[in-house]
Symmetry: C2
Subunit: 198 residues, 2 copies
């Protein structure tokens, strides 16, 4: 005998999630059974609602429950700047600091020659279309500081610069609160290269 079917199925569902193995899935499933009826119903409802109500903004590609998304609709935002990110979570991270007031463009991936992902496989074509006849003056590439992120930022810069659009990227350097002693060599190199006057 193993677990009764209903719990075995629930364990199976949990174990499909990333980073959740069979032991954790079992723990979560048992915990769920101990939760109140209301909480479980709410959980199931939220799962279905999230899947049903969310889609990607037809302009910027951000995850949204209305199309165009709240940011693209907001005319008070700076229409001359677009910040390019890998996915919707990066948009939230940026919005949380409340310092950037321009528009976004979500790529849903990065160019990755190693994995055979080229410019046509990510949400880049719509960016080009979007930039035509727009008032955008600057594109900020905010991809992760990884090999794929660098490759993507290089590609975007090469495509957009000839069109006379200013392309910038996020600064590379020491993370705030970090220790020089433990910083990796490339980060230290960038920190020296990009040093700023006090």
């Amino acid at each position: 005998m193993l677990y009764p079917t209903p719990i075995a199925k629930l364990i199976d569902s949990f174990s499909k999630l990333p980073g959740i193995g069979i032991k954790t899935a079992t723990r979560l499933a048992f915990y769920t059974i101990g939760m109140s009826d209301d909480d479980v119903n709410e959980f199931a409802k939220n799962l279905l609602a999230a899947k049903r109500e969310l889609s990607y903004c037809s302009i910027c590609g951000n995850l949204t429950d209305e199309d165009p998304c709240a940011i693209c609709q907001d005319e008070s935002r700076d229409q001359t700047t677009i910040l390019i990110v890998e996915d919707s979570r990066d948009v939230s991270a940026m919005e949380n600091i409340q310092e950037y007031h321009g528009l976004y463009h979500v790529l849903h991936g990065l160019i990755s020659p190693m994995n055979g992902i080229g410019p046509d496989d990510i949400n880049l074509k719509s960016l080009i279309t979007r930039l035509m006849d727009s008032e955008v003056e600057e594109v900020i590439v905010a991809t992760n500081a990884t090999a794929d992120g660098e490759a993507t930022s290089m590609y975007i810069s090469r495509v957009l610069k000839p069109a006379g659009i200013k392309v910038t990227r996020l600064a590379r350097g020491l993370a705030v609160g970090s220790d020089i002693e433990y910083a990796d060599e490339v980060t230290l190199l960038r920190a020296i290269e990009n040093r700023t006057e006090l």
Copy 2:
């Protein structure tokens, strides 16, 4: 702006699970949105079904989708032995080794003087009732090797021994594959005390 409402709610549901913080909950929620419709529907269905269809066996307290549970119903099992465990997961662990063929009793907790949990707060009374007029000859206490587990096992032994029932508990000693060098002192002490002849 933060996340659109549907995903914020889903993140909230995920973060109610044990060991899942806000970052992991966000990752899981975004992953779920990328899953196929079928998988998400299945997940929601399994959540509701597990909560609705599972209950505790009226005899042994094990989690089951029928009452009495499959083990209590199975007359081919040894009716003279009951193995006492803390929760239903322990039943599954035992069943997996396919070596024990008796019955079970699930306590749903352990006696814990530190946390004010006494014998009346766990599923012990039904064990006493169950043992009256039964053919049970041996009760194996299979609680965890922790302070609460020991306290529970002591209590059960004191209550049942006067009734002429043999009370045993799982062996304490070195776990298979473990290193003497890294074993804690109490485990080593038990391993010497309970040494067996070769």
